[in-house]
Symmetry: D2
Subunit: 324 residues, 4 copies
């Protein structure tokens, strides 16, 4: 049963219909009455936002496949029952990794090479040519680059950075230093990362513990002229402090996520010098969103064959209660 | 003898002074009188622009090292004598490859992901959020990408594109199809490249034959919404045709090189929709220009030891007369 | 509590002792009496072979870390209770991937380049020089290569094969074709894989379903002169059929795993032409076994901090009952 | 005109015949009389061994393409005239890089993992299983690896070693340390390389200066149990010293090239422990030799179009007189 359309890619849809009985496949919410009839037999539920309460009345349920990008909150889904019954709660978050990583790289290069400011100067006839137009620019080859958080986004970004041979430093309190070293990363504490890196990517998922982790004191450590890329969630940042420092020209910033979306029209970050802003656009590229459909159908195919899912991210009992 | 300063990087300069007698090492032109005295003994001349006529009166000359980015024109340097005497005429062009390739990728992503327009909309409070802000965007993963010219620039760009797993098509009339295939490229003619690629990079060096190769008829083949990146020389393009097509919104363009530099203030490309302009800034990043110094010293070190140069590009008898 | 020593690498051991109370850390089985005292409080048990029956009397148990290379059999461990209580049952199998993959590549090259036969001919003065010594050899560059099973071993082998640019074909009935394609693999059925590949690697783990999957009929499809590398488990092969075909010179084989170990002294495979035999040595390289210790300590560190394990392989409810 | 057959690959041959007039294309030496008639007009000569004296009587000659693997000796070819007239003297040596590099890796792994000895013990029923069979083995992951010579062979080997993440140390007196560092290599002196590396590859081409460079004193520095791979030329080694040290079990060796070929039947290296011998077989794999044909035709195609050759190696005035 599907209560969210997944992919217009007809090959994936056709595969889905060949695999199983689809109770509801339209691009609008499933009627409650129909849901009530179907829940006894449901093997899997594909959903954008879980709104079906406890799984107690779904005795055959084996999987919940979430297609919005984050696992359902423990406040709406009874995870304890899911874990005890080995019901897979799956998130399509991995589908976003590559497109968000590409945007993170694109925004970082736009900032380090001053592509936005360079263009805007050109449009108004104030461009500076050659060396004169490169006073504050740098390439990222061999530079110290910091990753705050080493989860799915960081793993999608790592190969894109590989040809630049950056020296990758990682801060991630959920991962032992020995493990990070085994992944070719240099594990560091947060402060030295902020102090030494020319480009800093915020890639961590929001947790209870990392709320406003990057406060004024931390952000003030960033080098003059360095590039700060905020791409996962603004939750990790004291946004007022970030706005103040960027507005003062202390470092460059590229920002895709905001504490309020839409952001108020009069928010001062809109006019900060050297900033590059994007309206939460990193993870919504039309063609790439279709990968969600492929992942859902692949994982349903595997689970219907009695095998584990492969592409979506399985909710872990250790993590679901820690996430914001 | 040096008639152009090369690197402020003290380690390279120190190596140079340890290697050989430097007749002139200041950041201003060498006085003619001093040149006249030194030319009898000169082993190598480092120069930004050759202005010393024939090499006939330099009997011990083994190398000319050019640090401006292109081999001297055959109109100012007597190549025939150089080739007959095995005098190496070396260009520092390879030093520019990585920084120009990075800018090419950065501008391509800025165009495909609409980073400049997205930011400018944000600054004026007209940004569109999430899917609404991604109507014409695409990622470059697995896309057909065309390279016009497969020389040094293309070779520097290739590793940066590798993690995106693009399908690379190459048009280069100087290279046999079998050779291109051996490099993992798909050799194609120019028209199918223009018709099928989502991103097109102009990377060829200017030659007599490729002047305005990309005329209106060719440029009009580019797909709606595709990205055209002009990064090597505007020589290859009918710039008026390009301006007309981009102004009409036929495709996106990212342009770093222009038929006149500086470009007239009233040139219509400055206000074309979806264009990203950069004032010939791709190859002038301060830190990266220092690689020129390293290359000059490394190649001098090799040649003084009687070995071939390694890093700079040796002028080839087949090519020097073809270049613009 | 540990009932199997893990690593002599002192740094890992020291980390372990700093992390937690170790009830038993000697290189001999833990006395039953001591186990009985400790089981009430045990958070994790590190073990080479599970021999402690049900987990019912271990109310605080959160993890079983197995250091022999395979998950405990469902006949000795009550997985249902483990899954219901979210007790992590972890295998150190990932530690073996790189060393086994290296051996698989080494044995494949030894077979394709006839390194063993070439050496043995040399030792007896019967070597053939240059072209005469290369009548049946081939390089693996660009060759069609088949992987039977795409689990941990295949993932460790994939990067080693990458520089050879082989055309990788995969047969794995547990993975949807669309998923394999998303990993850059060409999904195929078993028969065409056997018929077309120049090198075939058997990499699957043993399951109830794949017992003697490669029977006479299948093995007879392998091309003359191709290389068959048996490296995961002989369980997948009808070993008598393999012996017959290799003895008849139908193809080359490199074999590290056998139906009986030690193999009887008079087994005919010992003298088959073109065979390369190794006495289950791929996964026992001393230095590399220490990675098991690192993984155990890293995952304990994560789990003691309330986080999911990172490096070892978590038993999956869908798979444990399928494995042999 | 061709005086050596190149490729049986019909596509390459067909291309050749379409490109130009082929005066002689048979697999036997060109008759002298025919050569005398043709030399006036000859644009290029493809040859296995130059035997045509001076180029003075070949006024239109633009290229000599050698298909045996080394540039003609200065004792048989008048290089001075070739350089003065810009006649390209091309060697097919690059065609051998990949196949020799693969063999070097294969022999190194056969030695480090004891694949030959392990097999031979198995054949005689004396194999040791599991850990017992791995007493002296090691994997090459993350190991210090030394390359003696960083020319074409080393560049072909480098990508094959890349996935093992070895720490590559290079000794090459023809290359500045700064240049080697720019290639990602650690430049070292010869003695520390020999003392610290677990695998040592001899990859240099023979020169007047490197004759028996690796004498007893140097070879005695190699670590016990390390692997010494002699793959380019035995010229670089005091072979008697190597034989003595390997026979004494001081380190492992894998040898493809010998001071006399064929090697005397009673040479003691044939029975040294832990040695792996190959009868100069690394560069003679049938399918891969066909790349020579492709390279010859590609470079002829380029040169007939007035362009520089691309794939073969152009003789350099600085080097031809230094080579043995």
């Amino acid at each position: 049963m599907i209560d969210q359309p997944l992919s217009k890619e007809s090959a994936d849809l056709e595969r889905l219909y060949r695999l199983t009985d689809v109770v509801w496949g339209r691009d609008e919410p499933m009627p409650d009455e129909l849901f009530a009839q179907a829940k006894d037999d449901a093997f899997a539920i594909v959903t954008g936002r879980w709104r079906h309460g406890s799984v107690h009345e779904m005795p055959n349920l084996r999987a919940i496949l979430e297609v919005g990008g984050r696992h359902p909150s423990p406040q709406v889904l009874d995870y304890q029952s899911c874990f005890a019954r080995n019901i897979r709660v799956l998130s399509c978050a991995p589908a976003f990794g590559p497109m968000v990583a590409e945007m993170a790289l694109g925004m970082a290069l736009a900032a380090s090479r001053e592509i936005v400011d360079g263009h805007n100067a050109f449009a108004t006839g104030e461009e500076r040519w050659l060396h004169a137009g490169n006073v504050g620019t740098f390439t990222i080859y061999n530079q110290p680059v910091g990753l705050i958080g080493f989860g799915g986004l960081a793993r999608a970004l790592k190969p894109l950075l590989a040809p630049f041979q950056c020296k990758l430093q990682v801060y991630d309190p959920w991962l032992p230093a020995t493990y990070l070293a085994s992944q070719g990363m240099t594990p560091v504490e947060l402060k030295p990362l902020l102090e030494t890196c020319k480009v800093i990517f915020v890639l961590a998922i929001p947790s209870i513990a990392n709320k406003a982790l990057l406060d004024y004191e931390h952000l003030a450590l960033i080098q003059p002229g360095a590039v700060f890329v905020l791409i996962s969630r603004s939750h990790l940042v004291d946004f007022a402090a970030l706005t103040e420092l960027v507005s003062a020209g202390r470092f460059k910033a590229a920002i895709d996520v905001f504490p309020e979306e839409p952001l108020p029209k009069d928010h001062p970050i809109r006019h900060a010098p050297g900033v590059i802003l994007s309206a939460h656009r990193a993870g919504s590229v039309p063609r790439d969103l279709r990968h969600i459909g492929r992942m859902v159908v692949n994982d349903l195919e595997a689970m219907l064959a009695g095998l584990p899912p492969l592409e979506m991210q399985t909710a872990q009992p250790e993590l679901v209660y820690r996430l914001e």
